[in-house]
Amino acid sequence: MQLSLGPVLFYWDRNTLMDFYAQMATQPLDVIYLGETVCSKRRALSLDDWLGLAREMREASGAEIVLSGLALVEAASELSSLKRLCENGEIRVEANDMAAVHFLAERDRPFVAGPALNLYNGHALAELATCGMDRWVPPVECSGALIRSALNQLEELGLQRPQLEVFAYGHLPLAYSARCFTARAENRPKDDCEFCCLNYPEGIALHSQEGEALFTLNGIQTLSASVSNLLADYDQLAASGADILRLSPRAQGMDEVIAAFDAVRKGGLPPLAVDGCNGYWHGRPGMLRAEEAGLC
């Protein structure tokens, strides 16, 4: 089993990003995803900076480096930077919008299909496989059973399975909007947001009126409030054919998270239970833990 570090979903300043990646370069990671997937206004690093960092990280860490593309591509400027990213000719790309798939297929570049692409069955996977997809990160709401069925269906169509990478740790990216909810929470217009996401290294918590943590506001993206954690489900992940487990960056403690997953993949016993949610993997509401869902 390989471990990957997903793209940073939050807006961190340049120094924070650089410090974070310097630390990550020494971690037992097999794949590292770089790049901005949420908001094109976040420019702590330019595309050239990301490419430079990609080269450095490749040397320093020995991990495979992938550049992740923006998920919601609206403005013409966003489309042209996505095109540049897809045409970088050097670093593999994770497509999070069909525009990226279009650009990558045109250039015959093998790519990773990210979790923001709606690929839920073997027929849809077959379509993307013919475009060059060789790794699939299923939408985060997919259950283990659905993922297994989709891959079986793909094989029945006579096509080779792509690598399977499952989102195994972190706040779940749940939705994308035209509206910036962080700016809204601060009563600012989106066009004059003053990059207020920088004030929230792990987003803004949204609670119900009863104090139940529901979501995390992160610019135009809405994440889960709970941290999804599939470490206790490790054996089932392995049995389901997962090749890579994605750990999504948080502001603190990633080295400990990586160490815990690393210990289990090296033969340590998975914990019986962990904090956080795992409902989606078990085909239940994403916010639940399997025990709450009455499955254990």
């Binding site: 749940l174 035209a178 509401p285």
Partner: protein, 331 residues
Amino acid sequence: MQLVCPAGSLPALKAALRQGADAIYVGFRDDTNARHFAGLNLDEKQLQNGIELIRQQGRQLYVAVNTSAQPDGWARWQRAVDHAAEIGVDALIAADPGVLAYASRRHPNLNLHLSVQGSATNAAALSFYQQRYGIRRAVLPRVLSLAQVKQVAAKSPVPIEVFAFGSLCIMAEGRCHLSSYLTGESPNLCGVCSPAKAVRWEQDAAGLSSRLNGVLIDRYSEGEAAGYPTLCKGRFMVNGQRFHALEEPTSLNTLDLIPELAAIGVSAVKIEGRQRSPAYVEQVTRVWREALDAYRRAPAGFAVQNHWRQALAGLSEGSQTTLGAYHRSWQ
């Protein structure tokens, strides 16, 4: 611009026809369409009846098979596509690349429209679907500003349809798992958002509460209007403040934009609401027919009539309407 109206029942279909819809869109009675609500959609006999009426009046019928196929239910999506082709629909509205591929190969003469659920918000994504599946129209998600719609339409390889009126999805369609996070039912896979079976209303001393799978979505004080607990329109706590953190209960209304949409070259405007009553369909279709006809007769002198505005406000969530993402300041 063509007027495309919803029908979740035969009476709604008749109402849309009566009031001058150019095309009517429906879904089958299962999870192959994105309005898979209990008691909604047409059965076989009603559909046949509806098609005859539509044909007699020279209008068009579109069928939405616009959810993503569940692997174990693939035969259902296949059947839905085949059935739409058999009954000779004027367009199949689909989103899943697997479903589009099947439809374009099995039924090469079937007219394909990319559903809003396909989440294509830019010209390159539209080119992907056009080149691979030969789509002939695309419905744009309700996340683009008017300036962005213009840019996309200018470079799009296919004619564009946009949402004109109805419930407002605050998230990019097809890019929202909020409902499945709380309830386990996904709009993308099950065709339902904030499903009715997960809704609970409670009246106690503190007032009226709406819950979705146990989670408090909103609490209303005495006399306050209560809306369906679509979870993105609830009142939540953020930074210590209680407010509609994502969106107020409001409907999209773009009557004011008719001249701009026409100038951009938008080929069709769509009314949302297959889950709404025949009376809703009747009134919204009537207002929009009048408005589009008035614009066609005298584009330069077009002005939104007060009685149109009033009629639509009465049919809107929370009696409020908005230009939504079309107007940049909303974003």
